[in-house]
Symmetry: C2
Subunit: 460 residues, 2 copies
Amino acid sequence: MLTYPMEERGGLPLYEYLYRRIRADILSGALAAGERLPSKRALAEHLHLSVITVEGAYQQLEAEGYVYTRPKRGFFVSSIERAPEAEAPPPPLPAQAAPHWRLDLKSNQVDTGRFPVSTWSRLTRQVLSEGGQALLHPVPHQGLPALRQAIADDLRDYKGMSVSPAQIVVGAGAEYLYLLLAQLLGPDAVFAVEDPGYPKIRQVYGKCGARCCPVPLDRQGLDPAALHASGASVAHLSPSHHYPTGLVTPIGRRQELLRWAGEQSAFIIEDDYDSEFRFSGRPIPTLQSIDRGGRVIYMNTFSQTISPSMRVGFMVLPPRLLARYRRELDFYACTVPALEQHVLARFLAGGYYEQHLARMRKEYRLRRDRVLDAFRASPFAGRISISEQGAGLHFLLRLDTPLSDEALGRRAEALGVRLGFLSEYAAVPNPAHAHTLVVNYAGLDAERLPEAMALLAAVF
Amino acid sequence: MLTYPMEERGGLPLYEYLYRRIRADILSGALAAGERLPSKRALAEHLHLSVITVEGAYQQLEAEGYVYTRPKRGFFVSSIERAPEAEAPPPPLPAQAAPHWRLDLKSNQVDTGRFPVSTWSRLTRQVLSEGGQALLHPVPHQGLPALRQAIADDLRDYKGMSVSPAQIVVGAGAEYLYLLLAQLLGPDAVFAVEDPGYPKIRQVYGKCGARCCPVPLDRQGLDPAALHASGASVAHLSPSHHYPTGLVTPIGRRQELLRWAGEQSAFIIEDDYDSEFRFSGRPIPTLQSIDRGGRVIYMNTFSQTISPSMRVGFMVLPPRLLARYRRELDFYACTVPALEQHVLARFLAGGYYEQHLARMRKEYRLRRDRVLDAFRASPFAGRISISEQGAGLHFLLRLDTPLSDEALGRRAEALGVRLGFLSEYAAVPNPAHAHTLVVNYAGLDAERLPEAMALLAAVF
């Protein structure tokens, strides 16, 4: 009869301890395959346990497949493969520590210090206290209707776009929307991407198995002749503010691009990332708002304008793609939590979002002016030329240097300075891009400027 | 000289109104390409405006490409393509209205009514008041360290899994993790999926361009001979609780599947969806915890246990895949907002999650017993057989009927009843699946049972 020292079970419940001991005997072979276990009653008497305890252990063993029952005959040991020699799993890689830079001009940092956290918190508390259970209900796959309405209103009021909330799809950030678009446009779509351009766009489409062809820019934006020649069926553009050159595509070129889309039955993805931080005049009309052929997918994200830890982006689908989206992709659940959607809807509808943008524009303009002044007063002022388009949180700085970008980057790194180069954004190497830094200045506040200039002087 | 009725500008700023009028004249052709605009000073005098106002309008026109400057000569009208005839965009599709069912046994509804909303709200308020600015900082791409630690602790305490937080990747729900896995395992991976099985798994992999081969189940789970023959390099399984059959894979079969993975250098995705609602005994050891070869990717989601509006899932990568993930996919930002991650970390670490699960298990067990009793006491009791594995929120019900599943479904629909059939989960049609309903009973509370039985009696 099975005999176990039940008093040695520590904090375990009796049935759990018994289950573990019998399991260990089965795994070690002490109980052989096919062997019959004592009846529940007999084992209970033998070990001074209740029948219910033994039954609990036997049921667990049976549920996990260690024993099986034969009607009216009781419990039998299953045939179990012995676990292979306990080869210790290789230790997991260490957690990645972010390197610490004395000066980082490369990271696309957002200054979140001025975000109205207290307003956001107040709206969150409001939603939590008013919403209650409703917050737990599934959100429609395109996103919360109230949020889509607030986005449509904001697009109308601040970008002159006439969009129905039904055309809007909300998702967990721009990258997720790129994934959805790759699936929506299908495996045969060929994506024209801007060269130079934001590398994640190429990376995401590439990981989706889509074919990307980099198309060069001229001084107005994507080169139409090269676009025609590429054979692309989709063009992913940022006409309002190209990253990283800052280029703004003028109206004539926009019309030319729309005509290309109409003639080729192609689509244009208008990625309006970073267009909010335009420092003069009103925003330039979006491609979407002058598109009469239903060929433009407009997209934007709140990661840059609110905070990168807020994963919410959206896209506006033209009707023919909306129908396809609902037919083919409506099985995807909406990826943004209900709470965030409720709070963001109120943040937009209450006007807090546009207030925040206006304040940030003012702040970033000041910062830009200070940063430009500092560069112009620096010891290396004679060796640089800056090109800046009055928009976005970065500018291009061309440096007169005999060093290659790589050598310059290494020298900077040795001094704790992280530089970003235009050449890193190029899909096809282009000598015209050399010696040009992409300076992201959103993180450069006034106190840090003298140190930053001294560090750069040492690098250059 | 340009003349505009500035008093008719309504609420627009002067410069904006002037910009719009000149733009309209350029677009209509009233101002021809190449024409020179009046000097700022001349136009300002003519219209009784300040020079700054005219300058604002001209700058905006120039920024948008409607005019260009020639040094020392002033502003000239650009050559603009006229917009094509304003073809009204086709009206967007109407928003989709969810159909209203008198009885819905198909939707995998979660009873969110018992979720401790007040605890969740309290933790959210705590995080908001303590976290402040920190909430706006970008989250590491694998997820917040505190959340990954809390998940690792929970896996250790409640599933006996030894996992380092460094192995965990947090993402916006299970479907998003399927997308990442398809990209991680590469375009050449062939995915064996359970047949019958959860259709979204096939759908997501299919949309990612991955090849899926449905592998049939026998009474213990995935059939090893069929798995071998499939040539798959990855098997996506739910051994703890298969959906929709409820099947639990016994230990011997688990070892066999692990051996297959080792021999074929294949991977197993252990999808532990819905395993928490096991009604008797302790959870069955996961494949991950008995895997010595580093071949298992464990994944689970909080959508089913907390709420479908909470998009958080996670996966545990074996070290060799973790290294690949960091090499190839670390450019993806984490898709879950920081706030949700902070709150969920506290919800887990504070023990509220497991308390909630324990309460829900008790509640669902009660509900299951009541539902089973109601079926057994129904007028159609003699024509049904129920198979139920003491786990999950659904069971299989085989109905003795001459009707096809389609005919039965249509008849039910006409009565406002939504039925789910096992045959709908099959990739390859199998007559053995016919006449079998998948009954999701999480939404069936006691008050609704008599009506539900009456409706079903009418359908059957």
